[in-house]
């Protein structure tokens, strides 16, 4: 019977606790506003706010003092918009994400987002949203996200999201949903570290054809070609001694008289561990790789492994003049959750 099936399907549908809590918070907020309205008359509030505005004008102050924002909001939404017109937040997994303020001008919307750990120390000064944030809005956009601040006391990292409408049209009306499903933190940087090995021992390596998922470098077009989908990579070996935790050094050798240096990262989509190599000659001159490329393989137990291979235009005859160096970034903490805020952009 349709009715029975329809009934049982609907029994599985119900609102999440988060959304119900949001409504309850909104109700409490409305109650507070009503009380404030009763205590202060409009002229008094205007006078107080003008005094405060003459001393403080930054949205950050408004953010740190919610009562201040609430006071402004009593008078005029326009004034409130100037400071921080959004004040929408959500919480999941002990992490609170708040849209602090927006600034819409021409075809660009700039949005300040704060991420705060309410329970532990998972948000730190290295917190990175990498590719895990999504902007759902009714127009085609390009977006960038950069961290603009971190407050140690409140464990809050602030990000600036810049969204530009692709057609360069003025952004009007509508709303934007900003969501994040994970972020990484606890980053460690290894800057210009030497990779200790005698390069004169490096031999010709066996190679195999791999399917490329990306690549770049000054001579990528010359050696690989922009439309090529495969390239020769050295055959991976067991992980060698390497000072970077989270990145495996899986091979070094010559292929067609060019030096290949290969690393791999397990579960790269969830840690964003990455880096690059370069050579230094006897006079400390830096020789960048001619190109690099990426490919993926799966381990026997199905884990995805991302390989990165740097290729240097250096022949075996002159390799003993060089030393190998690298710069790498790894992270040791992945925090997952479902943070989603919808807010108007006008």
């Amino acid at each position: 019977m349709f009715k029975d099936k329809y009934y049982s399907m609907n029994e599985e549908i119900y609102p999440g606790n988060q959304i119900i809590n949001k409504i309850k918070s909104k109700y409490k907020y409305q109650c507070k506003r009503s009380k404030l309205k009763m205590i202060f008359s409009k002229p008094i509030i205007i006078f107080i706010v003008l005094i405060i505005c003459s001393f403080t004008t930054t949205p950050i102050i408004a953010y740190n003092v919610p009562a201040f924002y609430e006071l402004i909001y009593q008078i005029s939404p326009m004034s409130a918009q100037f400071f921080m017109p959004v004040q929408e937040s959500c919480e999941d997994n002990g992490i609170k994400m708040e849209v602090i303020s927006t600034y819409i001008h021409d075809s660009t919307a700039e949005i300040y987002i704060a991420l705060q750990d309410l329970r532990e120390n998972r948000v730190d000064e290295t917190t990175d949203l990498f590719d895990s944030y999504y902007i759902h809005c009714p127009f085609d956009t390009m977006a960038t996200c950069k961290k603009v601040g971190f407050d140690e006391a409140s464990k809050t990292a602030t990000f600036l999201i810049s969204i530009t409408e692709c057609d360069n049209k003025r952004i009007t009306g509508n709303k934007i949903t900003f969501s994040v499903n994970k972020f990484i933190s606890g980053k460690h940087e290894y800057n210009h570290i030497p990779v200790r090995m005698d390069l004169s021992d490096i031999k010709e390596s066996n190679s195999k054809e791999v399917s490329l998922i990306g690549g770049g470098g000054e001579k990528y077009g010359e050696y690989v070609g922009s439309n090529t989908e495969t390239n020769n990579a050295i055959v991976s070996s067991a992980s060698m001694d390497f000072p970077v935790k989270g990145i495996d050094f899986t091979g070094i050798g010559f292929v067609n008289n060019m030096l290949h240096v290969q690393t791999s990262v397990i579960d790269a989509l969830n840690n964003d561990n990455h880096g690059y190599f370069y050579l230094r000659d006897e006079n400390e001159n830096i020789i960048e790789s001619a190109y690099s490329f990426n490919f993926i393989e799966n381990t026997n137990n199905g884990e995805r492994v991302d390989y990165n291979e740097h290729v240097f235009d250096v022949s075996p005859l002159e390799i003993d003049k060089y030393s190998l160096y690298g710069t790498f970034v790894t992270s040791n903490l992945l925090t997952e959750g479902n943070w989603r805020v919808t807010f108007p952009i006008n």
């Binding site: 329809y6 399907m9 549908i13 309850k24 909104k26 759902h136 949903t177 919808t342």
Partner: protein, 162 residues
């Protein structure tokens, strides 16, 4: 349905407890999408908080919630925002494959019939009750229900007895 009467100020939580699922399910039946149902659900309760409506009986309160939810659904669907929007991937998964299939098939049902079908089959409202709640003529509801059933038979074929 709990027939006790609530006053607004001290029982918002009770109101949410009693009507949250109903509002959410109507919104979902219309949009068949969790994100949009979330938006409508919030809008309905925010209206309730803003307007602070007073009702003589719980039946009136229930009717208010159904009507406002249906209106919010229609308003959202006809907005310029919705017309430009690209739907996200399905964000709900049911326990049984058969239920998932039913969900996908119901997406094919024209929007205008979805609320009537939900109120009739899930909320167990009669045509007269639906007509009063949605403030439409009984004949309109009857016609919509007949057409909706016909469409459902076409969509679901012989899998379900509509």
């Amino acid at each position: 349905m709990d027939k006790q009467s609530f006053t607004f100020n001290d029982c918002l939580e009770d109101v949410i407890n009693v009507y949250a699922n109903m509002v959410y399910r109507i919104a979902f039946s219309y949009t068949r999408d969790k994100s949009n149902a979330d938006d409508i659900f919030q809008e309905v309760f925010f209206r309730y908080i803003r307007k602070k409506p007073i009702f003589e009986t719980e039946e009136h309160r229930k009717a208010w919630f159904i009507r406002v939810t249906a209106n919010c659904c229609k308003k959202m669907w006809s907005s310029a925002w919705m017309k430009k929007m690209v739907p996200l991937e399905d964000n709900i998964k049911f326990e049984m494959a058969e239920t998932n299939n039913l969900h996908y098939e119901l997406k094919k049902l024209p929007i205008k019939y979805r609320t009537v079908i939900h109120l009739f089959y899930y909320e167990d409202l009669s045509i007269e009750e639906i007509s009063k709640t949605l403030k439409k003529k009984p004949s309109t509801i009857r016609t919509q229900l007949t057409r909706a059933r016909y469409k459902l038979k076409e969509i679901l074929k012989e899998d379900y007895d509509v």
